[in-house]
Every structure is written in C-alpha cells, then in structure tokens.
C-alpha cells in the first residue's frame, strides 16, 4: 500500500534504536485503510505543534455507559479515515497474562474492524483498540464477549482494576493480588459498565510495599501487601551477601525505622518496629523473606492533580486479613467499599474524587460514617495546631443556653 501523506517529520521518529510507534502506525496502515490518515493528521500536528482532535463525543455500546472513548478529528474532510477514531477499552486479565492464542484473537478483531493499532496497555490497565468507527462498536464488543473478554471502565464509573504479577511470579507477594483483583472486578461489573458515580473510581492491587502497580499514586483504593509476623532470615545467606555488599551502609543503614543491626553474630531485626518497607528484603532476596502471616494495608484517595493538587493514598486500614476474608468471597472488603461508595454518593459532588471529598469533610467524620476507628497508623504525626473542634461541653445545672 503506498503512503497517502508525506510525513517528513514523523519519518525522523522512525530512526533510532528504540522501536518506533511511527513504524507501528505504518504497519497498522498496511492492515487498515483508515490508519493512513492518522499519519497525515499527526504529521500536521507535528508541523503546527497542536493536536487535531475534537473535544469528546459520547459513543458506546447498548446497555453500557462506558468502555468506549469517543474521538473525532477536527479535520474530517482532509483526513476522512480518522473522522471517527474511538478507543475500545478491553478489561485485561489479572497480571496481564496471555497466551499467543488469545492475543491473536484480540488482534484479529482489531485488525479487521478497527485501525489495527493498540495500546498494550493503557495506563489504567486496559488493552486499548484504537481507531474504531461508531458502526463497528457493537460487532467488536460481541466478538470480544464471545471469547470471554469484556469492556473496561470509562466515565464516572468504576475503572478497570489492575494488579501486579503477585503470587504468580513474585516471591514478595503477601496475598493473592491477582485473585482479589479478578474477584472484585467481577463483583462490581455493574458499577464498571454503568456510570452512576460522582466521578471515576480506581482500584489497584500490589502484592507488597514495592507497589509495582504504583497503586499509592493512582488508585482511589490502593491495596498493598504486608505481613504481621517476623521477616524470615536465612543467616547463612546473609553472610554470603555480607561478602559482597557493605550491609551496614546499604542494608541496616537504610532501614527507615533503624530496627536492624548486623554483626558477627548475624542479622537482628526488631520486627515490632519494622514498617514493612521491603528494603532489606529487596537487597537480599535470597536471605530474607516477608513473614508468613500475610495481609494487606488498605489506602485511600490518590489521584492526579486536578483540582486540588496531586494526592497519594493514605492509610485507611493498617492491616486486613485478606486470606481469611477471601474464604468468604472478600465480603468484609466489599462491604467496606459499599460504605465508602455510599458516603461518596451522599456527600460527594460531581467530579469530586473520594480523596478530595474526605479532605473536604474531614477524615474524622468520614471514619465515623463508614464505621472505622481513628488510628495513629493513619497519620504521619498527630496535629501540631491547637484548633481542636471538641464536640461536647458540660453545662452547669440549671444553666439556660
């Protein structure tokens, strides 16, 4: 297929060692006619230093309020192939695991009915088929469902949850993040597909404090593995490491709670003061392992900067015995989420994420409403100002007030 548009600027980006998205668009253009016009429009953006997509546009499949991001060119005459160029978000499997068979099925759909361009994966976690015309949406959807894939989230809804590789291939996992992610996603299908929230809501599940899903930075609800008992130490292996690295400087010296010490007699850890940061285990994975009483810390509220500044998630539940609750279908967790959503629904305003709401109404009130106790684990330190809103005062007998 010969190129419809001259793209001297984009061609520059075919050079260099890193695989080129321009080459990929060209390869896609070999499969799908519409994609050639994408090259043209993007080249024009490169020339003008400005995008050429119209603002928004509602499109979707029957019965769903989300899962598709509508996108229309503002130069449809010039680039008819991108006149409609929507994205289909497909909910990825837990841990981003695939077989070649299933991947081929997915790209068969996108190559035939769309631009043959994909994001593997979107920042939230979805597989994204780019460049879908409105008329193709239902077909694509039905074909995906036929081999067991469904749309992900978009709009004011639950967004596609995601998780790290966890127990599938990581010795640090303190709970079954992939299973929990799958179970929770299945349980809240309605909340994902039919936007009724004030704004988006995201879950991310990481097996340990390394947080390989970056959940603490970009999930309204971050679930991060931890443990209750002692770090398992193989003192012989510690000695091996000591031959190669200066443990004082690089291990015990960097422990945030200074709860470790090392000398000839071996490595000692005051586990009661260990904050499960993972550092020592990371450095000596053959010598140290998290304890066996795994669980999670549940944190709340992170998000991007709009409108009140970027947020990290803060501790809501210091330790939750997820293994125990898993036996029960994660019922305790689902109830907790239900209470959070209820509160958000009642008190939140449109486009207010749950973290912003809590900041607005006060964490104390929020905890009371969802039935959790205030705990010192929730704060990095107690208040340093004296403006305390004591809620009750005593009245003298017979005092009129």
């Amino acid at each position: 297929m010969s190129k419809k548009h001259q793209t001297p600027l984009l061609d520059e980006l075919k050079k260099g060692k890193w695989p080129s998205f321009v080459t990929e668009i060209e390869r896609a253009a070999e499969k799908s006619e519409m994609t050639d016009d994408l090259l043209g429009q993007v080249e024009q953006s490169y020339k003008e230093k400005m995008g050429h997509w119209k603002h928004g546009g509602m499109v979707g499949v029957k019965g769903y309020g989300g899962g598709i991001v509508g996108r229309f060119s503002d130069l449809p005459e010039k680039y008819p192939g991108v006149k409609e160029f929507h994205t289909v978000r497909i909910n990825q499997p837990s841990g981003f695991f695939y077989t070649s068979d299933i991947l081929r099925k997915i790209v068969d759909v996108g190559d035939k009915h769309a631009s043959s361009l994909y994001n593997f994966h979107g920042s939230t976690g979805d597989i994204q088929i780019l460049g879908v015309k409105t008329s193709e949406l239902e077909t694509i959807f039905q074909q995906l469902v036929s081999f067991g894939f469904d749309l992900g989230g978009s709009g004011s809804a639950l967004r596609t949850p995601s998780c790290c590789v966890g127990m599938a291939r990581c010795e640090f996992a303190n709970y079954d993040a992939m299973n929990m992610c799958y179970n929770i996603t299945q349980a809240f299908q309605d909340e994902m597909h039919r936007p009724i929230f004030n704004y988006k809501f995201k879950f991310k599940f990481s097996g340990c404090g390394n947080d390989c899903t970056a959940s603490i930075a970009r999930a309204d609800l971050s679930v991060i593995g931890t443990w209750k008992d002692n770090i398992r130490i193989d003192q012989d292996m510690v000695k091996e490491y000591a031959k190669k690295i200066n443990l004082h400087k690089y291990v015990t010296g960097k422990c945030p709670t200074k709860c470790m010490s090392y000398d000839e007699t071996g490595l000692k850890i005051d586990d009661s003061n260990c904050s499960k940061c993972m550092h020592c285990i990371n450095v000596m994975p053959k010598a140290l392992r998290p304890g066996v009483k795994g669980g999670v810390t549940i944190l709340l509220g992170s998000k991007a900067p709009m409108v009140s500044g970027p947020r990290l998630s803060m501790v809501l539940v210091p330790f939750y015995d997820v293994a125990e609750d898993a036996k029960n279908g994660y019922q305790w967790f689902k109830d907790l989420i239900g209470k959070i959503w209820e509160f958000w629904d009642e008190y939140g305003v449109s486009r207010e994420r749950v973290g912003e709401l809590i900041q607005r109404v006060g964490i104390g009130n929020f905890l009371e409403a969802i039935g959790l106790e205030p705990l010192p684990e929730m704060v990095s330190s107690p208040r340093g100002n004296p403006f305390v809103l004591y809620e009750e005062y005593v009245e003298a007998d017979g005092e009129k007030n």
Binding site: F21, R104, Q142, Q189, A214, C277, M306
Partner: protein
C-alpha cells in the same frame, strides 16, 4: 470468528479468567516462589520452594503497537515459551520460559526483530506515557514522540544496568496526568501557558456554567454574560493553565502552538522502600515544543541522569540522592535555574518551605 449476531446478547462477563493464561510452571508454583535472581538486564529467574524455575525474558515495546507487532510476539512465544507471555505494568513484554536453553535463541530472534532486550534491575525502565497528539484532545505536547526521542537516547540505560537504582520516567501530555508522572523519578509534562480562549457560542450552548466555574483550581473563572446570556470570563492573572475548564467545557480551548510545551519534574517515587512515596518536584518550568525530536527535553533529561549516575550512592533513587545532597546542589550541578515558579504557592505550598537553619553553605 463465530457469528454472534442473532444470539442472545451477552454482557457483564467481566475480564477473562487469568488462570487460562498461566504457564503450567506458574500454576504449579503459584504462591510458592522463594527467591529470584537477575541474570542480566533482560532476564531473570524465579525459583520456587519446589525447586521449579521460571525464566522471564523482558523486551521493550513502544506500547502503541500494530496487530503485526503482537503477532510477532505470539510467534516468538509459540516457538520458545509454550505460547505464554505477559506484559508488565510499564508496558514491557515478558516471555515466560521453563527451559533455560530457550533463552539464547529467543533473545537472538528478538534482536532480529530489532526489539530492545533489557529493562530489569537498575535501568531506565520503559517510559510510561499517554496519548498525545495521536489520540487526545487536551494534549499540550505529543506523548509517543517525546518518549521515542528519549528512549533512543537512553537506549543503553535500558539494555545495560548502569544506574545506582531503578529510574522511572513518565510522560503525560497535560495536567490530567494520565501517566503516573506526579510520582516519577523523572517526569515530562505537557503544559499550556496561556489562558483559555473563550468561544462564547460554544460556552452558551454546550457548557454548564456552574460546573465550569467550579472546575477552576484558582477561582479564575467568574460568571459573566454574553449577549444577555450566562457565560464566563477569566481573571487572567489567576489562571494556571491547567485545562480543567476545557475538560468540562469545550468552549474554552487552551492549545496554543506558541506557548505550549513541557516542564520537567524530578525525584518522585512510588515504592515504600526506605523512603516514603513522594511527588516529583519541578526542575525545569518550561521547554518549548520542538518536534519531531524535542532535543532540549532529551538534553535536560540526560543532564539529570548523568548527574544522578555520577553523584548517587548505590541503591539511591533520584529523589533520595537529591534529598541527600540538597536541592541547591541539584540546581547547581544541572545548571537549571531556580526561579519563583519553583516555590510552591498552591494550596499546601506553605508546607514546603525550609523551616530550619539547616542550610549548606
């Protein structure tokens, strides 16, 4: 492909059960992994309590890929890993092998496809990025282009583990920050620098005035009338060019080729290892858009990386290094100019001042 038309419409099946995609060795050793060893920047082995091993070979991807790219991966997987592969949370590809002897031939085939091998350990990881001019309407810069230009230049940092610790770079094309740039070692962020234009007709017809006003972080939008109908006006001196008004009201576009560009941020992290997670901090307030290869952006990122590589102790993330040597020295070494824009004047900005006499002289 089955013809599904006419059959009962099925919905809410949810994501595919992951069990169907797990390598048998992984299934058998699920939750039993004992330790891992990084064998090269491109492959590692995980060893189970049962003695079983799984090898992971990691390959870089531009993320925005064609169907053919995926098919190439599938072919490799069929040939070497029983068809099993996965993607990482930073869009790398991992082939999962139970046979050590397959590693080298797989790697050779990957090289033939000109795909990068690496990304494990103390490397510059694959850049997390967003849609840019390829697909988003609010983009102040392109995403894939800047990312490609950067990774071309940082290629050896991906394939060889030469750094003191992991370096996570992210790119987002507007302040919505769809990439996790607010907590990255190095972040490149598309920015506008001019207040929105007002398109009164659109505002009147398409926008809800109260929510438009509420969308502004600095209260720069005020009610107004236009031809007697409700509209808005902007206090230019208060606008921080965030684009949130445009998100809720299409009548207020911000894109402006002369003023759009990127800013560069440093020292954020996500992991809880050693130090707490933290935001990326402003390093370079503005660099102009300079497609196709954004040379000044590439140079600034390399300046940071070089300084970091030379200055940091083993195991220190970018932010940890800067905290140890102090921000004055960071600006000094990199030559970036410290300006009043670096001083946080937003909501909680007060908390970021130096309330101490701890000052390096």
């Amino acid at each position: 492909m089955p013809d599904v038309s006419g059959t009962k419409r099925i919905t809410d099946v949810g994501p595919h059960d992951y069990h169907d995609f797990l390598h048998p060795v992984i299934k058998n050793n699920y939750g039993k992994w004992k330790y891992h060893e990084i064998l090269s920047p491109a492959h590692m082995v995980h060893v189970s309590e049962t003695g079983d091993k799984i090898y992971s070979v990691r390959v870089g991807s531009p993320r925005l890929v064609s169907g053919s790219f995926i098919r190439d991966l599938c072919d490799l997987a069929d040939k070497y890993s029983g068809g099993y592969l996965r993607f990482t949370t930073r869009n790398n590809v991992e082939f999962l092998l139970d046979k050590e002897e397959n590693i080298e031939p797989l790697m050779n085939d990957i090289k033939k496809l000109n795909l990068p091998l690496g990304g494990i350990g103390n490397v510059v990881a694959n850049i997390v990025h967003t849609q840019g001019w390829i697909h988003c309407h609010t983009a102040a810069s392109d995403a894939s282009g800047v990312t490609k230009a950067l990774m071309d230049d940082l290629y050896e940092y991906y394939t060889d583990a030469k750094l003191p610790a992991k370096v996570r770079i992210a790119f987002a094309c507007c302040l919505n920050m769809c990439g996790a740039v607010h907590c990255s070692d190095i972040a490149v962020l598309g920015i506008h620098r001019r207040p929105p234009k007002l398109l009164p007709d659109k505002i009147m017809n398409l926008c809800e005035i109260p929510s438009t006003i509420a969308s502004c972080p600095t209260n720069a939008i005020r009610p107004d009338t236009y031809n007697g109908k409700p509209s808005v006006k902007i206090i230019e001196e208060a606008c921080v060019f965030c684009g949130n008004c445009f998100t809720v009201c299409s009548g207020m576009p911000l894109s402006d080729p002369l003023n759009d560009g990127v800013s560069i941020w440093v020292g954020g992290k996500v992991s809880n290892a050693r130090t707490k997670p933290s935001f990326s901090k402003l390093a370079v307030p503005y660099l102009e858009n300079d497609p196709p290869r954004w040379p000044k952006v590439v140079e600034a990122v390399k300046t940071i990386l070089d300084a970091y590589k030379n200055g940091a102790e083993k195991g220190e993330r970018v932010g940890e290094w800067i905290e140890r040597i102090g921000w004055p020295k960071f600006f000094n070494i990199t030559g970036f100019k410290f300006t009043k824009y670096h001083i946080d004047d937003f909501r909680l900005g007060e908390a970021t001042m130096n309330y101490s006499a701890q000052v390096r002289q």
